[in-house]
Amino acid sequence: MGRRVLITGLGAFWGGHMARALEADPSVDVIVGIDTDDPSVQLERTEFVRCDDSYSILARLVRATQVDTVVHAGLVVNSALMPDRRLHEKNVIGTMNLLAALGADQSRVTNLVVKSSALVYGASMEDPTWFREETPRSRPPRTRMEKSLLEAEDYIRTFAEEFSSVKVAVLRFANVLGEDLVTLFSRALSLPLAPTIAGYDPQLQFVEQDDVVRAMEFCIRHELEGVYNVAGDGRLPWSEVRAIAGHPPLYISPVMTEMAAAALRRAGLITLPREALDLLRYGRGIDNRKLKRAGFEYRHTSAGAVRHFVETRRLRRVVGAQPAYRYEGDVESFFRRSPAVVHQPSP
């Protein structure tokens, strides 16, 4: 019998791409995805279930579908996307409900893969150049974003200790760059001027979006357990990132940065929240060798990810992007279930 997978956050970028990657795997029998929003990528056989922000129907869903693997891709890591309160609801309460459902008596779940973020390490002046998975953060979190991720990871850690029968893998991703993805840095690099804190040239690390999906797939396939950093090799200064993208800097004052940034944010010039400002001051590096030792191979380095992102965007500007996909429940249900549809094995 093949695997039965549940994906949270199907409507967001990662859930959708994860589902698509798993659809190509014949050993996966069933893929169920939940989210508050419609899926944003076209899916062949994934079942979509709409839910509320805190995933309150999960227990019922886990029981009914008898899934054995859960991909928790629903953690929000970009605080520019939603207000703090909703962020807390989604990350903390959502994770809590998910874990409660997985720990219920009727649950058959044996594997849990969580997409977390390197934001849990923070960014401060006391940081080591490279964070290993076990390195503690240097300073307590200040933003709701980081707090919510740390709380969610805390719940997951306790869950892993309590249920030793479930293999739990937590993947902490560096800043992701990808042509279809909106992240803090893809936004920052899409503006004509790249926001820069005057006098600082931090060393940043990136990971390409395909490497992210591949890393999660790798984790599911090899049933990894534990915490893993996922990031491209090497770090590069922000000035170099700007040079690759060909953007001149937009200087933000090094003192009272928060106020200056707030003004620029209101003027619509930048979208950088506080945790991104810390990053633009101190940078962050996470040691990716644990996942490599497990056998994973990256396709892109940090610098390669930036280059790839910039080049793809240049190409898009000329040939145009593919039309965005829109989910229509009736249409999807027709293609999946109507006797009129002849199902052919995909080439």
Partner: protein, 298 residues
């Protein structure tokens, strides 16, 4: 038809056919290998740039030679390859010993020296970036381990920290406490020797006459000094060093007969080793001071 570098024939529009070198093989079409990391700058993972470092050396060279007239003794004791933790005494309000040591070794041995220092540098705009490009690394145990054990580099550390640089001129050349001996533990874990270096001259290059604890508290820095240089040159005294003669002596490397990569080492052993190194450095400092005839001419 465009003829690339791999084409064997070039067909001209006139119909003339030119044959390429017979026997020259067409390059094999390989699947695209992961491209080499194309970079626009040479900034390494530590934030160091060899180009920036070379520029700094060109700038600092005349100061090193003509102002401080640095003179080394026992430079050959510094390993030409493999990791080593260089340990030195620290002095002067804005210490000149770090650039002097780094410059001297890099010029002489042709290998980079990473200067481990207080992370406070990182928080300063411009200074922090310049410091990192010039070979400064925040003194975090993880950083030291990676530099020494995994990359087998030379790392320079001042165990006295700001207690060394913040002392008054009346206490010159009296070594402060060597932290908590962390440097010994790092060297043990990394399996590298400690190479002590004693410096004479740094105290007199920028001596501290008085300190303001209140100002330091307000500014959030370890000390706010009043230096003799400031009295003489005003604000320019922040960068104007006195031309004290720099003499440096490299002591015998200290090898620890313990297995590397241990979780922890016996505290008493670490303390004893740190104290022994401190004693040796203090003795050598006194010896050099005894032989010094003049602060300015050595």
């Amino acid at each position: 038809m465009p003829a690339g570098p791999g084409a064997r024939y070039v067909v001209h529009v006139t119909g003339r056919v030119e044959q390429g070198t017979p026997g020259a093989l067409l390059p094999l079409r390989r699947p695209p290998a992961p491209p080499p990391d194309e970079r626009l700058s040479d900034v390494d993972e530590w934030g160091r740039s060899e180009a920036a470092r070379a520029r700094l050396r060109r700038l600092f060279g005349p100061v090193y030679r003509n102002w401080f007239r640095a003179e080394w003794e026992g430079m050959e004791k510094i390993p030409a390859s493999g990791g080593a933790l260089l340990v030195a005494n620290h002095a002067g309000a804005i210490p000149a010993d770090a650039p002097v040591i780094m410059h001297g070794i890099e010029e002489e041995l042709g290998r980079p020296v990473y200067g481990l220092a207080d992370y406070l540098f990182r928080s300063m705009p411009v200074v922090g970036t310049a410091w990192a490009r010039g070979g400064g690394v925040p003194a975090h145990p993880d950083n030291a381990y990676r530099l020494l054990r995994e990359q087998q580099q030379l790392a320079l550390v001042f165990p006295e920290g700001t207690k060394g640089t913040g002392k008054l001129v009346t206490q010159r050349y009296q070594l402060r406490r060597f932290g908590r001996g962390g440097f010994v533990e790092i060297a043990m874990r990394a399996g590298v020797p400690v190479v002590p270096i004693v410096v004479v001259g740094s105290e007199e290059a920028m001596p501290i006459l008085a300190k303001s604890a209140a100002a330091a508290r307000i500014l959030g820095v370890p000390y706010v000094p009043l230096t003799a240089n400031m009295l003489l040159f005003g604000p320019l005294g922040l960068v104007a060093y006195f031309p004290a003669k720099f003499k440096l002596r490299v002591l015998d490397p200290v090898y620890f007969d313990v297995p590397p990569d241990q979780e922890r080492y016996r505290r008493s052993r670490v303390f004893d080793e740190a104290e022994a190194i401190r004693q040796a450095m203090q003795t050598n400092l006194y010896d050099m001071l005894r032989k010094r005839r003049s602060v300015w001419f050595g």
